[in-house]
Symmetry: C2
Subunit: 345 residues, 2 copies
């Protein structure tokens, strides 16, 4: 059991006196609660084009709340936080983290804000799993649901990729069974894990058009035989390096595993029965053709499961090229899809 | 330059007095020359069901030769071999290895056997690239060509995966910039590389049917929070462990990179022009629908390129579920495809 849990969140827009205009955003594995810029923090957020005045998630109309996942290192209590009972970082002593825990922590946050009903819960990727968990654990409190590239459970292919990411971190001698100092993290393992993440988040056809066989322009003279030579390798290196400086390795392990063990079927025997708990009036399920980590058939499974319980579901299949990450990149397709749905909520 | 190069090969069947019944098999990245069992070595080969009397590659009819790639550690000279000038393992002092080098070494081997014409060159994966190189470097010596899940060049997606495999090996402190002792190889890096290989060689749908979300039956009590829990993780672990004991890390690095840098376009400005060198009377191109490492459009590229030069090409698209590795597993589809082609050669 955790005590003195802290949860980071940000808000945009104004809460109506009736407290009935809340849109809750639950983030993916790596981002925090900073979805969009604000007066308090003018830096661009991870969904800057999606959230704002007169944008798809319209902050003139909605009171938007984004809650950083329990277990993350962007302000919420997680393995990188000190255990208040000892003052020492939880590290590997943090308890098993589930998607349900993340949903419950987000809901408690809203309760403390005096919010007991959300107009919509919106979540991509891990956040889409959290949104499913939220809607099925608190059926009376969710009027609409938007899942993006999510799933009722992970495929063995996705589990294999994430298991290998975790092994890369755990194999780094600097990981020290999770007891590394924050100044000396397992950078090498985290770099490998992030690169594998990027490979699984994008798509082969995007990279074919974007990089082809372009070589790195200036390859240093002292470059070794196996140092990066192609542009695609430089791209991976750049993004991995950026990530290593901002994300805690133990948090990554816990959040990654929460996706593997999540299974809607545990709430009713089968995925379909588990989905039966959800009573949102409307649901939008968005999937992307080029996503091989959360493929379209898994989106179809959510759609079919909800419809079999008589729920109203819209299914939006987007032909975005950027794979699982499309929701962060292909705003031309994602903004209208979400805007259109929310205009009818 | 290498001196005193040694190349391992095996043969099956009998060479006709006219020396005109040779089928040359060029292997993928990891296997050696032991394609099938024989009187000398009765252990099963890596293509046991494909090669033998009255099998698809019929050793009653053909004199079958399989040549272990230059640079491999299964008997041919490579980074794991001692440099005859110093007696010390080449290790990272081995020169850059190209697919063309592998083809030239195979051809020299046949020359030393007194063979100057092959009825067919057959190669899967890296071996398919080697077969393309063989056919374009020695156009007068190849009557028929069979490429399986090959490509005229690697996609950025495939390069990204292989680059990450190499980085996993190079990041292992035991790698020691390639100067490890053979008794203390970079096992951890090689294990990670092999697991990523397996993920890229198979297919998500195969694993969905095969593993689903099956848990490991007996998980030891002392299992850590992030130790394998799902069957798919145990499968990867089993195969990676097997591989680590049989393959040299530096050889892996050199062979892996040879696939990245191979580009038929370097033989004529474009892939199509490069393919123009090939004068085989007939070619069979086999591709697999579920292969995302050497996808079908790359098979189509070989087919189109050869046809534009007026070559006779058959294109066999197999619906195998096992991804890039299907040629090793789905013998029910591969044997008839190859048998039918060779019966007309």
């Amino acid at each position: 059991m955790l005590s003195d849990v802290q949860i980071a969140y940000e808000t945009w827009g104004r809460l109506t006196p009736a407290r009935d205009n809340v849109v809750l955003i639950l983030p993916g594995l790596s981002p925090g609660a900073h979805v969009a810029s604000s007066a308090e923090d003018p830096s661009p957020g991870w969904w800057e084009q999606m959230v704002g005045p007169e944008q798809a998630i319209d902050t003139d109309r909605f009171f938007v709340v984004c809650v950083n996942s329990l277990g993350s290192c962007h302000g919420s209590t997680g393995p990188a936080s000190p255990d208040p009972r000892t003052g020492i970082r939880y590290g590997p002593r943090f308890p098993v983290l589930t998607i349900e825990d993340i949903a419950i922590a987000a809901r408690q946050t809203l309760c403390l804000l005096g919010i007991h009903q959300v107009r919509a819960v919106v979540g991509p990727s891990l956040g889409g799993m959290s949104a499913l968990a939220y809607a099925l654990l608190f059926p009376d409190e969710v009027r609409a649901l938007v899942t993006i590239s999510a799933a009722t459970r992970s495929t063995p292919f996705a589990i294999a990729i994430r298991s290998l990411q975790r092994e890369a971190i755990r194999s780094d001698p600097a990981w020290k069974a999770g007891e590394y100092e924050s100044e000396a993290p397992p950078r090498t393992g985290l770099r490998l894990a992030r690169k594998l993440g990027l490979i699984s988040y994008r798509s082969a056809s995007e990279w074919q058009g974007r990089f082809g066989r372009e070589r790195i322009e200036v390859r240093p003279d002292e470059a070794g035989l196996f140092d990066p030579e192609f542009e695609v390798e430089a791209y991976l290196e750049h993004h991995a390096e950026k990530f290593v400086g901002t994300f805690d390795a133990n948090c990554y392990l816990y959040l990654s595993r929460s996706m593997d063990i999540f299974d809607v079927a545990e709430h009713g025997g089968t995925s379909e029965a588990g989905l039966g708990w959800i009573r949102a009036e409307r649901t939008l399920v968005i999937g992307v053709e080029s996503d091989f980590l959360f493929p379209l058939w898994q989106q179809q499974e959510i759609v079919d499961g909800l419809r079999r319980h008589g729920r109203e579901v819209e299914f939006s299949v987007l032909p975005s090229l950027q794979g699982h990450d499309s929701f962060l990149v292909d705003m031309e397709r994602f903004c209208p899809a979400i805007e259109s749905f929310l205009s009818r909520v």
